[in-house]
Symmetry: C2
Subunit: 322 residues, 2 copies
């Protein structure tokens, strides 16, 4: 498959998908003030962003509202406090974790201001994910499947999963670099694989990258050039650990005149500059090491929590336990 | 031209070139303590790095030693204090700026511990650069030409420059992304162009990237895949503004067993963690904006010096003056 598009033109099929609150929520247990969430919403609307993921719709019967902020649960009333009836071009999404949501709690679309339900699943959870996809689809939502940790999968396992998903009503299949361990050369091949299957079943491909090796933006662009059309970003890359593909890089790059950089810069001035003094995210050696070694970032999470700068010890431990 | 190499094997032709002191010197006017410079030298030797650029060989008759530290001048005695006779596999390089060096001050190679002279030149300085290349070559040094600001050149101008350089005795022609404004797609084409000319004249291609759009590592890898074999890096990306391609990413990626990551991590623990509290470098919005707009980073340099976070104003000013 050849490269799609050129450096000078825009592709009308490309959409920008904001995950600032949802992926950022992993940094602070979803404890964002309404003013901040409203700020992200207004920014997305003004910047021409296509989707905003406002949090997770996990069940308060499974996870405790004492431990997690309200954007881990996304009650309809909480969302409406931010977006009202959302008479804008921005669509609202929530993410469902397998085993943490209760299907019966998802209202029919006509009773909700939410437009899309995204299902995040490891490969062994695909049957559960398909149940949630079918339920959300039947209730009238757009759906995505975000297959996690594919860098740990054997190749034919991923093929089988993609084949099964192609038979479901899911709208977008996401190429996710959970551990920030892929290089553009690998993303290239994966994007072609996903796109081939998606095209044949009338679906789209999305891309969700992490910045462990300073490749989130490069990988997002590479996936886009080889078939992905829905690009996950967060403002200033806010997200767990090394963070995500920065919205300001993608919006500054895309040539579609509907996207505007200025509102994003304004949000960064007002909200991100102070937040950087309170929360820890972005490229750092511990997360680089887990990315390079294709490992879950749990050792890096601990290192950053403990402000542990013994990078040699961390590397030794990672090598010893591989 | 096809991609060279694979993800799993190493390429014996690839060399790692450290510029920590020289590019880092642009952050602090070359005011590094000997202990720090020795630390970089020892790290390069232990990590298997191929070249270390220890500073510039500008003339103290042109630039003032009151304003610049000794690594802006690289006296033979100062270098020897760090490297002795340098009985290692690491080669030592210095950089010459056009108009700031005095040809007569460059000793013959047999009187110097320096192995390589790198000439940095804008395109209008190519005739002066060729004089310096010929002089250094005649005196017994390896040479490189680092053509700057090519993102501002018209295409045939660059072709003419490369053609002229192909007739000189220079050993390595550098693909330099001065403003951090190139995407991998553009680096790909440039690397192929440089490599074609270099191959025909028995030269090598180097790559020197900047991180304004978090693409320094991605662009370095892309250039390597399409012909570049000498990769410029700095420890932790130390360098002016958004910084450079991090050594730890490249060494972690290359599969050649001679390269070792552990000594680099050790240096970061001991020297970079404290330095980060004193010096300012790395990805930031002001440098991202100049990169995206393909501009010299002078507005970003001022913004960072003034701790100016009025990103919208900076963007407006840049757009108004384009």
């Amino acid at each position: 498959m050849d490269k799609i598009g050129t450096m000078v033109m825009s592709r009308k099929d490309v959409k920008v998908f904001d995950c600032t609150i949802r992926d950022g929520g992993l940094v602070n247990n979803f404890q964002f003030e309404d003013e901040f969430v409203k700020g992200v919403y207004d920014t997305c609307v003004k910047a021409g962003v296509d989707y905003m993921e406002i949090g997770k719709n996990n069940s308060p019967t499974i996870q405790s509202p004492k431990e997690f902020g309200k954007w881990n649960f996304c009650l309809e009333s909480d969302i409406r406090k931010i977006v009202g009836k959302n008479n804008t071009n921005l669509k609202i999404a929530v993410m469902s974790d397998i085993g943490r949501t209760v299907k019966e709690e998802l209202k029919p679309k006509k009773e909700s201001v939410v437009d899309m339900v995204r299902i995040a699943a490891y490969m062994h959870q695909i049957p559960s994910a398909i149940e949630l996809i079918e339920d959300a689809h039947k209730k009238g939502y757009e759906t995505t499947i975000n297959i996690m940790a594919i860098s740990k999968a054997m190749n034919d396992e991923l093929d089988e999963v993609l084949d099964e998903l192609s038979k479901t009503p899911v709208n977008i299949i996401y190429l996710v670099d959970s551990f920030g361990s892929f290089h553009p050369e690998q993303i290239n091949k994966l994007a072609k694989k996903y796109t081939k299957i998606a095209k044949n079943s009338n679906k789209l491909v999305g891309v969700h990258a992490h910045n462990n090796m300073q490749l989130a933006y490069a990988n997002t662009i590479e996936a886009m050039m080889y078939g992905a059309s829905v690009l996950d970003v967060t403002i200033s890359g806010l997200g767990r650990g090394a963070g995500n593909c920065p919205m300001e890089l993608i919006v500054g790059f895309l040539k579609n005149p509907k996207y505007k950089l200025m509102p994003i810069l304004k949000f960064i001035e007002h909200y991100i500059v102070p937040l950087e003094k309170k929360l820890d995210w972005g490229y750092s050696v511990p997360y680089m090491l887990t990315g390079q070694l294709n490992e879950h970032p749990r050792t890096a999470m601990k290192a950053r929590d403990d402000a542990d700068i013994n990078f040699c010890d961390q590397y030794r431990t990672l090598l010893d336990t591989q």
